[in-house]
C-alpha cells in the first residue's frame, strides 16, 4: 500500500511540475498565444490574466473531470467550450466587481479566455481522462506555467519598454525606454526571441 501511495504522490508531483517547464503551455506547446501577446505590455495585467486563467482552468477541469463518463465523443468539444464559457463569465463578473480598472485594461481579452487553446487542450488531454484530484493538480501546474511565462514576457517588455517593473521605476534616469517594446511589434519580437532562447536551452541540455 505504501509504495502504491508513494507512486501516486510521484505522479501528482510530476504532473504539477510538468506545466512549469517540460510542457509549459506557452513556451513549449505554443498554446494560448493570443493573450500572451496581447496583455503583456506590463506585468500587472499579465498577472491578472494569469490568475483568471488559473481560476477558469481549475474550475473547468473539475467540471469536465466530473462529467467525463457521460460525455458523447462528438459533443465533447462543444461541452468543453460551454463549460469554459460559463466559468469565464463568472471570472469576468468577479473582475468587473473587484478590479474594475484591470477589467477595463484587459477589455475583450478576458472573454477571449474562452477560446484560449491551452484550457481546451487540458480539458481534452487531462480532465476528460483523469479523476478530479489529478485534474486539479494538472490545472494548477499548467496555470502556474502559463502565468509564469506571461510574467516573464511582460517583465522584459515593461522594464525595457517603460523602465518600470510592476509600475515601480527600476531603471536609472538616463535609461531611454525602448518604446517599440510596448507596442504590438515588441510583443511579437520579444516572444519570438524568448521562444528562440527556450529552444537554445533545450538544445544545450540534450
Amino acid at each position: 500500500m505504501a509504495t502504491d501511495s508513494d507512486g501516486q504522490m510521484c505522479v501528482y508531483k510530476d504532473t504539477l511540475l510538468a506545466g512549469l517547464w517540460r510542457e509549459n503551455p506557452v513556451l513549449r506547446l505554443l498554446l494560448g498565444m493570443c493573450p500572451t501577446l496581447a496583455v503583456t505590455a506590463a506585468v500587472k495585467p499579465a498577472f491578472t490574466m494569469g490568475m483568471c486563467v488559473i481560476f477558469v482552468l481549475v474550475c473547468s477541469n473539475v467540471m469536465v473531470s466530473l462529467m467525463r463518463d457521460r460525455l458523447k465523443p462528438h459533443l465533447r468539444i462543444l461541452m468543453f467550450t460551454l463549460t469554459i464559457a460559463t466559468f469565464v463569465t463568472i471570472a469576468d463578473l468577479l473582475l468587473k466587481a473587484f478590479q474594475p480598472e484591470m477589467s477595463d485594461a484587459l477589455g475583450p481579452y478576458v472573454p477571449l479566455i474562452i477560446v484560449n487553446c491551452a484550457i481546451i487542450a487540458r480539458a481534452e488531454a487531462c480532465a476528460s481522462k483523469n479523476p478530479v484530484l489529478l485534474s486539479i493538480i494538472d490545472a494548477l501546474g499548467m496555470g502556474a506555467g502559463f502565468t509564469l511565462a506571461l510574467c516573464v514576457l511582460a517583465g522584459i517588455r515593461e522594464v525595457l519598454g517603460t523602465g518600470k517593473f510592476f509600475e515601480i521605476q527600476v531603471m536609472p534616469e538616463a535609461f531611454v525606454p525602448w518604446a517599440a517594446l510596448s507596442m504590438p511589434v515588441g510583443a511579437f519580437l520579444a516572444l519570438g526571441f524568448l521562444l528562440g532562447l527556450v529552444a537554445l536551452i533545450t538544445q544545450k541540455r540534450s
Partner: protein, 195 residues
C-alpha cells in the same frame, strides 16, 4: 453619402489599421500553424472570412434582438460561442459534401476555427465598439475576415521564401515566424495615419 463614407472608412480601418492579427493579436494559432504554404493559407483565410461574416452578423442580431431587450447580457459569451460553433459545423458539413479535397487539406484546422480567437474577438469588438446598425456590423465582419486572409497570405508568402534562408537553428519554426510577424506589424503601423 455619409453612411457610405462611414462604411468605407470602417472597412479600411478593420482591414489595415486595426488588423485583427497584427494589432489585436487575434487568431495567432492558425497564423503560426497554417501559414506554411500560400494556397493553404488562402483556403484557411476564406473559411475564416466566411465563418466570421456569418457569426459576426448572427451574434450582432442575437445581441440586439434577444439579449439586450430581455436583459440577458450575462449569457452573452455562452450564446456567442454557441453561434460560432454551429457556424463552423455548418461550414465543415458544406465543405465535406462539395469540396472534399479542400476539406482533406484543412484536416484538424477546420474544427479549430471554433477556438480561433479572431472570430469570437470580432464579435466582442462589434459589441465593444458599440456598432448600432446591421449594415455596419456586416461590413466590419467581412473586413475582419479579409484582413485576416491578407495577413496570413502575406505571412505564407514570406515563409515560402524563408525556407531558402539560413536561419539559426534555435530560431527555426515558430520563433522566426513571430519575429517576421513583428516586422510585418511594424509595417502595418504605417497605415495608422491614412484615416
Amino acid at each position: 453619402m455619409d453612411t457610405v463614407y462611414l462604411l468605407i472608412t470602417g472597412f479600411l480601418s478593420v482591414v489595415l489599421i486595426n488588423n485583427l492579427v497584427l494589432t489585436k493579436f487575434l487568431g495567432i494559432c492558425p497564423y503560426l500553424g497554417v501559414s506554411g504554404r500560400v494556397d493553404m493559407a488562402f483556403g484557411m483565410g476564406l473559411a475564416v472570412t466566411f465563418v466570421m461574416t456569418l457569426s459576426g452578423t448572427l451574434t450582432w442580431l442575437i445581441d440586439h434582438m434577444v439579449l439586450i431587450p430581455l436583459g440577458l447580457e450575462v449569457t452573452r459569451y455562452v450564446c456567442f460561442i454557441l453561434v460560432i460553433a454551429s457556424a463552423v459545423q455548418l461550414v465543415e458539413m458544406y465543405l465535406r459534401k462539395f469540396f472534399p479535397p479542400l476539406y482533406d487539406s484543412f484536416g484538424i484546422f477546420l474544427p479549430l476555427i471554433v477556438t480561433n480567437c479572431a472570430i469570437l474577438g470580432l464579435c466582442l469588438f462589434l459589441n465593444l465598439w458599440g456598432i448600432d446598425s446591421l449594415l455596419e456590423a456586416v461590413v466590419l465582419s467581412v473586413g475582419g475576415g479579409i484582413g485576416f486572409t491578407m495577413a496570413i497570405c502575406i505571412m505564407a508568402g514570406i515563409r515560402e521564401n524563408l525556407r531558402m534562408v539560413d536561419v539559426p537553428q534555435c530560431l527555426q519554426g515558430a520563433p522566426i515566424t513571430l519575429i517576421t510577424a513583428g516586422i510585418l506589424s511594424l509595417a502595418f503601423m504605417g497605415f495608422a495615419g491614412i484615416i
